[in-house]
Amino acid sequence: MTLQQVAPTVPQAEENTVEGQVADILALYKGEQSELIPILQRVQGELGYLPELAMRQVAGFVGVPDSKVFGIATFYAQFKLVPTGRKIIRVCRGTGCHVRGATRLLSELEKELGIGPGETTPDLEYTLETVACFGSCALAPIVVVDDKVHGRMTVPKVRKLVEDEPVSSQG
């Protein structure tokens, strides 16, 4: 997989601002390799994902090949190479939630949104993710929409969750 295939190219007008934003972040660091992951975390925190250009810029700053940064960005589940949706729905797949029916919730959401875990609807409205455990197993199964934790979820409740959210166009 090449960078071009996975990372969308940023329109020219936006490019400068991305470059500037990344430069502002890099100014806070020394350029040591041990800072690589914290830098990428910060860049993603700011931009929402890791555009190709930003990754190249970080590689140059730390003094490692682009491939090294790409390797890290694809190894760790936290890093995203494409923009995420405006709403992030996260389904807990921890053991506590699994034995209380999390799989059914996930397949319901996959069906409702037409996307799989880790994917985003084409209208950039929703991103669907799974998480290992929210530590709220006592209220299992858990679904988190942005930062709101919904406990004791059922299939009908999950369906209401996405129906209630105003959707511009169902993807």
Binding site: L36, V99, R104, C133, S136, A138, V155
Partner: protein, 636 residues
């Protein structure tokens, strides 16, 4: 500021609080409390207090472990035992404020228990309740009792006393104390902590590192998070003691990014330590200096493994490497490094304060002290518990946990997460210690404990864990990368009704190969859930393979939903709720499920009114029902 001064300040703050005429309200606002609605309760509390014009101090505390009772509040009125209230809603909160805080009626009907000196009519002592009676809190000693963002609260509870003692004795004496306590690492493997420290201490070199492993990747485990959220200083004090004993001047906390509250609490704690002269140069006016950095993980389970964790801190992909060299010999940047788990560090600060003999007085001969568990799954009282080693599974599940809900039958208990196994009812009376669980084919692990009832399919559980380890395998070594994939393929075949004769033997053979051949313990333990379920629940595998039947009625491909004609009253609720539009029938007609369209989501089963209970789930048996809707009451 010298430590004496800090202690004096802490004690006078505590005294002022105790002698204040104001009542104190403690509210648990950890992640689980918030998920249960503590935020709304807090708002209600604040507005009720403002309305009624009474002064009360609100203290936000971590999790006391009674997750089933969240939101949980504790009210301490001067001269009275404190009173706990469980499952508080904003409405109940306002009742409690007007009845107890204002009118002085503790509302025995709402109270869960009391704590402290004195009794209140009709309210039991909290620690006499079955859920707490057999618990012993060492690692979690302050969780739920103190404000985790106030270092003085920690100091007033004896905090940093262990460090003070350690700094007065020789480094080797500190290590000997840890050895004598019998403490074993709480991160999973149970390696004796003192012995590990000795290795690192004896390694040549002047630059050494200390690491706190807070990656907590096991799905369904949250002990470390609760501890860091509820009492970060207990862990940090442990790290300082370790750093002094091993001669390290720099430390790292590797924590998952998914734990934002714990990270924030750690940051607050580190800042307060610096201000109090407990971090940085010349700690407690001694020659000992130590600095701590927080490193956020980036979502890779394998990074909990110590060599992968170090690679990640150094800024690489988190892939394990062969040992030796062990971290104690060549760890971070090639320097001797000592890695311990969050709970291990919290035990260290308690051990140094109260002595090795005191700690070793708990537990069994080979497994000393206590262990925390996150008790979840099909259990009445899920929560975070801490018990002396050697307690039986039955005590944990039935006394502390209150047994299985809905009068279902106990099927198994899963311990040790993806590296552990499933133990059947015959082990309920076995002691929980490192040796006994290992003998049974499982492990204590980091402390996940998931109770499974008759509705849980054991083959599906094995598949679930294998799917997890397969996805998290870093891919460096072939036995783990391909072995787990092959095993998962076979398990998926079995649960989807495509199992073949010989699959069980093949799974066992592959398991042995993956165990023996893998580079790190991720692959080395991944087959455990499969091997234990085959060992104890072989008949379930056989039912799936030979009869295409799931005895627990859980595996989608092997079950069907039917409307029972004699019970259906034709109310139409199921047909309206069915997302697949697979249910036919008008009002007053016996409904019929179109088996070709049914996605087996179970919605009809959930929505059918319990007075009818007209939906049946079956597996591996033929059912005769009408093919078309017929009027209710007519003979099918």
């Amino acid at each position: 500021m010298g430590f004496e001064k800090i202690r004096t300040e802490a004690m006078s703050q505590r005294k002022a609080m105790q002698t204040s005429p104001n009542a104190r309200v403690l509210i648990g606002t950890g992640t689980c409390g918030m998920a249960a609605g503590a935020g709304d309760v807090l708002e209600s509390l604040e507005s009720e207090l403002a309305k009624s014009n009474i002064e009360a101090d609100i203290i936000q505390v971590g999790c006391i472990g009674l997750c089933y009772a969240e939101p949980l509040i504790e009210i301490i009125k001067p001269g009275m035992p404190s009173v706990f209230y469980a499952n508080v809603t904003p409405e109940l909160m306002s009742e409690i404020v007007s009845d107890y805080l204002i009118a002085g009626n503790p509302r025995a009907d709402l109270a869960l228990g009391t704590r402290g000196e004195g009794t209140l009519d009709g309210i039991p002592q909290l620690f006499d309740l079955p859920v707490l009676k057999s618990q012993v809190r060492i690692a979690l000693r302050n969780c739920g009792n103190i404000d985790p963002e106030n270092i003085y609260h920690y100091v007033a509870s004896g905090g940093y006393e262990g460090l003070r003692k350690a700094l007065k004795i020789k480094r080797q004496e500190v290590i000997d104390e840890v050895k004598r306590s019998g403490l074993r690492g709480r991160g999973g493997a149970g390696f004796p902590t003192g012995v590990k420290w000795q290795f690192c201490h004896d390694s040549p070199g002047t630059t050494k590192y200390i690491v706190c492993n807070a990656d907590e990747g096991d799905p369904g485990a949250f002990m470390d998070r609760a501890l860091l959220e509820g009492d970060p200083h207990a862990v940090l004090e442990g790290m300082l003691i370790g750093a002094y004993a091993l001669g390290a001047s720099e430390g790292y906390i590797y924590i998952r990014a998914e734990y934002p509250l714990a990270i924030q609490r750690l940051k607050v704690a580190l800042k307060q330590m610096e201000e109090c002269g407990l971090l940085g140069d010349n700690i407690m006016d001694s020659a000992f200096s130590f600095h701590i950095k927080i490193k956020e993980g980036a979502g890779a389970f394998v990074c909990g493994e110590e060599t992968a964790l170090m690679a990640s801190i150094e800024g690489n992909r988190g892939m394990p490497r062969p040992r030796p060299p062990f971290p104690a010999q060549a760890g971070l940047w090639g320097k001797p490094t000592n890695i311990n788990n969050v709970e291990t560090w919290s035990n260290i600060s308690a051990i140094l304060r109260r002595g090795a003999d005191w700690y070793a007085g708990y537990g069994t001969e080979k497994s000393r002290g206590t262990k925390t568990f996150s008790l979840v799954g099909k259990i009445m009282r899920p929560g975070l518990i801490e018990v002396p080693m050697g307690i039986t599974l039955r005590e944990i599940i039935y006394e502390i946990g209150g047994g299985i809900p809905e009068e279902k039958a106990f099927r198994a208990v899963q311990t040790g997460g993806p590296s552990g196994g499933c133990l059947p009812a015959s082990f309920l009376d076995s002691p929980v210690d490192y040796e006994s669980l290992a003998e049974a084919g499982s492990i204590i692990g980091s402390g996940g404990m998931v109770v499974l009832d008759e509705d849980t399919c054991m083959v599906d559980i094995a598949r679930y864990f294998l799917a997890f380890t397969q996805a998290e395998s870093c891919g460096k070594c072939i036995p783990c990368r391909w072995g787990t994939k092959q095993m998962l393929d076979i398990l998926e075949d079995i649960v989807s009704g495509n199992g073949r004769e010989g699959d069980i033997d093949l799974l066992i053979e592959l398991s042995e190969a993956v165990k023996d051949g893998s580079l790190c313990a991720l692959g080395g333990t991944a087959p455990n859930p499969v091997l234990t379920t085959i060992r104890y629940f072989r008949d379930e595998y056989e039912a799936h393979i030979f009869e295409k039947r799931c005895p627990a009625l859980a595996c989608k491909s092997l079950i069907s939903y039917y409307v029972i004609p004699e019970k259906c009253e034709g109310c139409g609720i199921c047909a309206r709720a069915c997302p697949a539009e697979a249910i036919m029938g008008d009002k007053r007609m016996v409904h019929v499920i179109d088996q070709d369209r049914c996605t087996k989501c179970g919605t009809c089963f959930e929505v059918c009114p319990s007075k009818f209970s007209a939906i049946a789930v079956v597996s591996g048996e033929p059912v005769t029902v009408p093919l078309e809707p017929v009027p209710v009451g007519s003979k099918a």
